[in-house]
Every structure is written in C-alpha cells, then in structure tokens.
C-alpha cells in the first residue's frame, strides 16, 4: 500500500508543473554555483601550486650560506583546496590560504578571501552546499506543505481511508514518494559532482570516494528528514495555509536564526583572547620556561654541560660539533612546544565555542547537515587545524635539519662557512596529507550523530502520526 501511494505521489509530482518549476530553480542555482565553485577551485589551486613551487625553487636556489641563515629565508606552506570543496566551501573563505615558515617563530595564517571581500559575502556564499542546505528545504516546503492538509481540505483523505489505507501508510507513502522524486532530481547533481571532482595527489582517490559516498548518504538523509517534518507538520495543521506558515517559520528559525544564535552564544560564553595577550604569554614562556622556573640562560647552561659530558671534553672550543647550532636545535624544540601549548589553549577556547554549534545540530537539522558536509568535504575547523599542525611539524623539521647539519659540519662560533644547494636539497618539499575519513569519524562524530538523531526523530514522528480528523 505504501509503495502504491508513493508511486502515485511520484507520478503526480512529475506531472505537476510546480515541481518542474522548483526543479528548474534548484538546478539552475546548483549549476551556477558549481560553475563558480569549479572556477574558484581551479584558479586557487593552480595559483597555490605555482606559489608552492616558487617557494621551493627560491629555497633551493639560495646563494651558498650558513645553513641556519638559509633556514631564515624560510618556506611557505600553501593549503590546496580539497577536491570536495568544489561542493562545500565551508570555512575556506575564513581560514587563510598560506603560512610563512621560519625559525624561532610560529606565524599565523594569512590572506583569507573573506577579509578581502565586502560585507555582502557575510550573507552567505552561493555554493552547491548552501543551495542544498538552505534552498532545497525551502523548495521541499513548497512541495510538501499540503501533503496531508490538502487531501483533508479536498475531502480525498476520507476517500483514501475508505480504500483501506491506514493513516500511517498514507503519511509514509507520501513521504517516500516525495523523497523518491527529490532523489531523482539530486542523483544527476551528485553524478556531475563525481565527474567534476579534481584528482589531487595529497588526497587519495579511495578516501575521496568514501567521503563522497557518505556525502550522498548525508544529503539523502537530510532530504528525508525535511520531508518527514513537512508531512508531520502538514498532518497537524488544520489548513494548508497554516502548514505553510508554520513550515516557513521553522525554516527561518533553523536556517538563519539558530546557526547565528548558536555561534554568537559560543563567542559570548567563551571569549577569544587578545592576540597581543597571547603573544605576551608566548614571549614569557620562551624567556622563563614553560613552568616559569626555567629561564632560557639556565636552559642553555644545562645543555652545555650535557654536551660537554657527551663528548668528554672541557671547553666549547674543544667540541667536534657546533654548540651554537645544538643550542638552536634545542631552543627550536622548546619554543615549538611553547607555541603548541599556547595554541592548544586557544584551540580549546575555539573548540568550546564551536561546541555550541555542534550541539545545536541536535536542535536544528540544518546545522547537522552543515557540520557533516563541511567535515566530509575537508573544509571544517578540525581539518584546517590538521593542516596547521602539519605545517608546524614541517617548520620544526626543516629548521632543525639545517641546525643539525650546521652542528655536525662546523665548529662552535663558526657562522660563516657557506654550504650550497646540495644542503638545501636535504630538505624534502612540504607535502600535505589530508586526514583520512576514519580519523575524521573518530574526531568529529557529533555531526554524524546529530544527523542520525534527526533521521530517527523524523521517522518516529512520521510513524506515530495519529489521525486528527479526516
């Protein structure tokens, strides 16, 4: 019986001019956003790949000099956009595109596209994800608001009931029918996305496809959730007009107000520290030690004693290695741990702030799908942090590789012996590896849980619909 109703619903939807009008609107918006996103992605990645190569070439073609001084010329880490960012741009506009890596200092990410845009961009960007998250529900509302109430108003609900269909079967059948019609519409969209996905070395194809599959499942569930809620509201409304008003109100709340409210509440509850205060703390830690009782000159003296003991000599000049460089290796490790500790504190604050958004996903299905979508497309905060960490690891690696080389091949006090490009070639180029899906599911499970929660809630509501009046 459910399939009969569903089949009838699909057939009448496909015959309905309204459906095709809405489909045309949706597909036009999606097509437009795909073209825009595709261009942005291709241009950004081409520029960043070129810049990354230029940075590497500049590194390799330095004039011969002291290795530590060479390290000061630094390297850049450019973040390539992920293949699936074609679909969901996520936080990419706000996270910055590159970071300068140099000894002694951990620099910030710079040049976020949003900072260079006008305030208009804050109303939301036209990306395929935005269209599916915010516009699709609106169209679904226009399609489904009369699902039950219109049958009731037209007197056909009574007819259906006398045909032997239970109210539950009618509701489930209708929801299934709407879902199938929407699936019919969205499958080609995801087909196009699959074909258009760029191949990238840092994102293995198997992982991208697994993410893609989950993405399709997520949006399929999202459409099911919205349709389920629409049918439930329609059944509980006396008139179709009332159902439409209620659903539009919910859309406004869930799509626009709650996301902002949750995020704002997060930043009110946990204040972001001042950059200046944070920099002051880092300086203090470097100087006085992480525990505050280990000043840098004392650290250096201790290190010297240990090195002298290791080489069984009494004076720095007698050492076969360059102690200055060894001290720099240790200092670099130390300052990096300082940066990591303080950055960790800041990230904890950010995580607390973001927790509001993640938890609001259990109140708001739009937030749920947004969180999962950004996670799967690699454009959420967690995966940006992963890039930051890898860039920071690379900074420590190349600076200390240079320091180590200097330590092994020069004597203490020697800052002038020059080494050529052969030494610079020791350093492997920066090679970012996207986190794997498994890592993602372990670290950010709440978004997926929220989506599942909504699927269950929507299903239960639909399943337990009681006939109010025929």
């Amino acid at each position: 019986m459910i399939t009969t109703i569903a089949r009838k619903e699909v057939r009448s939807l496909l015959r309905d001019g309204r459906f095709w009008l809405l489909a045309a609107v949706l597909l036009t918006l999606l097509g437009l956003s795909f073209v825009l996103a595709g261009q942005t992605l291709a241009r950004a990645n081409a520029e960043r790949t070129r810049a990354q190569r230029a940075s590497r070439a500049a590194w390799l073609h330095q004039t011969p000099k002291n290795p530590h001084k060479a390290a000061h010329f630094g390297n850049f880490a450019f973040r390539l956009k992920t293949p699936l960012s074609l679909f969901d741009n996520g936080l990419d506009s706000y996270t910055g595109t590159s970071v300068y890596l140099e000894p002694h200092k951990s620099d910030d990410f710079q040049f976020s596209p949003a900072a260079e845009a006008t305030g208009l961009s804050r109303f939301g960007e036209l990306t395929p994800a935005f269209v599916l998250q915010n516009i699709l529900p609106l169209l679904l509302i226009f399609l489904c608001f009369g699902a039950i109430s219109q049958e009731r108003e037209g007197g056909t609900l009574r007819l259906l009931l006398t045909q032997g269909a239970s109210f539950r079967q009618i509701a489930l059948g209708k929801a299934l029918g709407y879902w199938l019609a929407v699936a019919l519409l969205l499958l080609p969209v995801f087909g196009v996305l699959a074909l258009a996905l760029p191949r990238q070395p840092h994102a293995p194809a198997a992982d991208v496809w697994a993410r893609f599959a989950l993405l399709v499942v997520s949006y399929g569930s999202y459409a099911a959730i919205i349709i389920g809620l629409c049918v439930v509201v329609s059944a509980h409304s006396a008139t179709s007009q009332a159902a439409l008003m209620k659903l539009l109100g919910l859309w406004l709340l869930a799509g626009i107000i709650v996301p902002k409210l949750a995020s704002n509440a997060g930043s009110l509850a946990y204040r972001t520290p001042s950059q200046y205060a944070y920099a002051g703390l880092v300086r203090q830690d470097e100087k006085n030690g992480l525990d505050g009782h280990d000043p840098d000159d004392k650290r250096r003296a201790g290190l010297l004693r240990a090195v002298l003991r290791q080489y069984h000599v009494d004076t720095v000049t007698a050492l076969p290695v360059n102690f200055d460089a060894i001290a720099m290796v240790e200092s670099e490790k130390y300052t990096t741990s300082v940066y990591r500790k303080r950055m960790g504190e800041v990230r904890t604050i950010f995580r607390h702030q973001n927790q509001f958004t993640t938890l609001s996903a259990f109140l708001d299905p739009v937030q749920a799908v947004q969180t999962t979508s950004q996670a799967l497309c690699g454009t959420d905060y967690r995966q940006f942090s992963a890039f930051q960490d890898q860039a920071e690891d690379y900074r420590l690696y190349f600076v200390n590789a240079m320091n180590d080389f200097m330590a092994a091949h020069t004597k203490s006090g020697d800052w002038t012996t020059a080494f050529g490009p052969a030494v610079y070639r020791i350093i492997r180029p920066f090679d970012y590896q996207e986190p794997r899906l498994g890592w993602l599911l372990r670290h950010e499970p709440l978004g997926f849980a929220a989506l599942l929660f909504w699927l269950v809630v929507s299903g239960l509501l639909l399943f337990n619909l009681k006939l109010q009046e025929a």
Partner: protein, 374 residues
C-alpha cells in the same frame, strides 16, 4: 482617498491586527531577537575596546620603564630601548559599530608598532623584521556571521512584514470574510465592523469589492435592508459624493416600493396599442420610475409589463397622484396591477386622508368621492 477615509481604514486594520495572536507572536519574536542583536553588537564592540585598552596599558607601562631608566642614566645607546619602544596604532570601533559590526572581526584593529614592524610587507626577509599578525579568530564563528541589529533590519524585518501582511490580506480576501462573516460564530466580527462604520456618523470609506459584498451581508445579518443587486454601492459609499449616513440610507431603502403592471394590448383593438407606453409616460410625469418590457402571450397578443418604482418618502402629493393613476389602471379591463397589499394600503393612505378631510368639509358628497372600495 481623503485623509479621513485613510485614517478610518488605518484605525480599523489596526483594531483587527492587534486582536490576532500571530501579530503579537511575530512582534514579540522580532523584538526579542532585536534586543539580543543589540546586546550582541554592544558586547563585540566592548570586547574590541577592552583589547585596545589592554595594549595601551602595556605600552604605557613599557614607556614608564624607559622613562625611569633614562632618568637614572641618559647615556645609554638608544637601541637598548628597542624592546620597550612601542607606539599604539588602533582603529577603535565607534558606537554605531554595535549596530552593524560588518567586517570588523576580520581585520586588525590594534597593533603595536615597534622597530622593524611592517604593516603591509609582512614577509619581508631578515631576522629583525617582525610580522604583525592579525587578531586571533575562530573561523567557524566568522563563517556563522553576526546577529547584529543591521542583520535584523536587513534580513528579518522584511520577512516580518511579509508574514504579517500575508496573514492579514490573504485571510481577509480568501474567503475569510465572505465565508465566515455570515456564519454565526463570526457574526461578532461583522457586527463590530458595522458598528464601527456607523458610529458617530463616520463617513464610510471607499471599500474594496469583496468588502462591499461582505458589508452587504453583514448589513443583512444585522437586520438592515441590503442594497439590491446591481445597485452601485460604490457611489453610495463615497462620502464626498452622497454623504449619506447609514441610518439615512437604511430609511431610504425601506421607503422604496416596487410593483408590476401588466397591460394587454389585443391585436384586434386598434385603440389598445400603445396603452402601456401611455401609462408609463403618465406615471413618470407623476414622479415614479417606470421601465417597460413587451412580450407576446399565447394568443399572439402583445403584453406590456411595467415595473414601477416609487418611494413613500417622495412628496405626499406625488405619492397621491401615482396612487390615483395606479388605482385607475387597476379598474381598467386588460390592466393587471401586482403589488403587496400593505404597499397598496400605504400609497392609498394620503388620498384617503384627503378624501376624508374633504368629506368632513362637505358631508353631503361623501358617497360619491370614496374610492378604492367596492
């Protein structure tokens, strides 16, 4: 539309609006969000001010150190103080930024300038060059954006008006009034509208078509005479054209009478042709409104049908004349007067009164002058 009409409409719609639950719900919601938005914007502005104040405080204490040392010994080389010499460069938010926070969270608003600071050339090489990093910011917060007053005004206020007017207009037009007003449970609304319109001789506004019909039904429900179909209510409702109060109008409608006179014009009788038209002419000359339509009956005879309209409010003499004419017609063969008994009695009353008065003056002639009887 004149000012009075406009204010009448405004007063009525406000009355209707404030009675609805959705109006208060929506307004409450908008005000709550607006209040929150104002608080949020204030909080963000205050936070930036605090961060600037913190920087200023540190720079001041740094300068205090330099001053103290210089007072003790002013022969030290200047570069010894490099680490203590800062200048604050800030762009504090003004009060209005709380209403529209815009892009302030994306840009630097306070930097301490010192030796080797480059604002634009961030990546200038060399150990001495210090980069000026931006504020710490959570990209996810930036992505969500602000819920400030400008957002409420730009985004939510239009939606508020759409929802409000959607409810008001559509519910009134789409059968709200037409369907429900006649029903008993909604009669209260109809009565109130009527009462509102009639109180203090308020001139009636030029209403829209559905309202006109609704008004007619409401008037009927309230036991007032309704305008006949085809009656140009618009002209009536235009106060500057007619200026009638509803009571006056109701009285006028009540005074109107209508009857039908059928006049047979047999084919064979030459003098019979044109009887109907003759009667029409004479009735019109007496002050009645008459229209004639001609048909042919089963025997092939012409039949003229006169629809006669007059009002008992017309001058007494006119009513009397019309009545004489109708009575005369009623007595002629081939003439048929169809009217209500009560109407007939009413229109004959002036003539009878005059006759009685005449009879009282000349009692001898009473017999001959009586009419309408026998």
């Amino acid at each position: 539309m004149n000012g009075l009409t406009f204010s009448t409409l405004l007063a009525f719609d406000w009355r209707q609006l404030r009675r609805g639950r959705s109006f208060w719900l929506l307004t409450g919601l908008l005000l709550a969000i607006g209040g929150y938005a104002a608080l949020y914007g204030r909080g963000e502005v205050r936070e930036q001010h605090q961060k600037i104040a913190l920087l200023r405080h540190d720079i001041d204490s740094s300068m205090a150190v330099v001053q103290a040392r210089l007072r003790k010994d002013d022969t030290t080389a200047a570069w010894h103080y490099d680490d203590f010499l800062f200048a604050l460069h800030s762009n504090p938010p003004d009060g209005l930024a709380a209403l529209a926070f815009g892009q302030r969270d994306l840009h630097k608003f306070a930097v301490s300038i010192t030796i080797g600071s480059y604002f634009y050339n961030r990546y200038a090489g060399g150990y001495e060059n210090k980069t000026l990093s931006g504020e710490l910011a959570n990209p996810q917060q930036q992505f969500a954006g602000h819920l400030d007053v400008s957002f409420v005004l730009v985004f939510l206020l239009p939606l508020y008006f759409i929802l409000l007017s959607y409810n008001v207009l559509s519910s009134e037009q789409e059968g709200g009034i037409l369907g429900k007003w006649v029903k008993n449970e909604a009669a209260r609304a109809a009565e109130e509208k009527l009462k509102f319109l009639t109180e203090k001789d308020r001139p009636l506004p030029g209403l829209l078509e559905p309202d006109l019909l609704a008004f007619a039904r409401a008037a009927k429900a309230a036991d007032r005479p309704a305008p006949p179909i085809g009656f140009d209510a618009r002209a009536y409702y235009q106060p500057e054209q007619v200026g009638l109060s509803l009571t006056a109008y109701a009285a006028q409608r009540e005074a109107e009478r209508q009857l039908v006179v059928r006049v047979q014009e047999p084919v064979g009788e030459s003098q019979a042709t044109g009887r109907a038209d003759a009667l029409q002419r004479s009735l019109i000359s007496k002050g009645a409104t008459v229209s004639v339509s001609h048909t042919v009956d089963a025997q092939g005879n012409r039949v003229g049908e006169l629809t006669v309209q007059y009002s008992v409010q017309q001058p007494r003499s006119e009513v009397k004349e019309i009545s004489f004419m109708l009575d005369w017609a009623a007595k002629q063969p081939g003439y048929q007067v169809q009217e209500r008994e009560a109407d007939r009695a009413q229109r004959q009353a002036p003539g009878q009164q005059d006759a009685q008065r005449e009879q009282a003056r000349t009692p001898g002639k009473s017999q001959g002058l009586s009419y309408g009887g026998r």
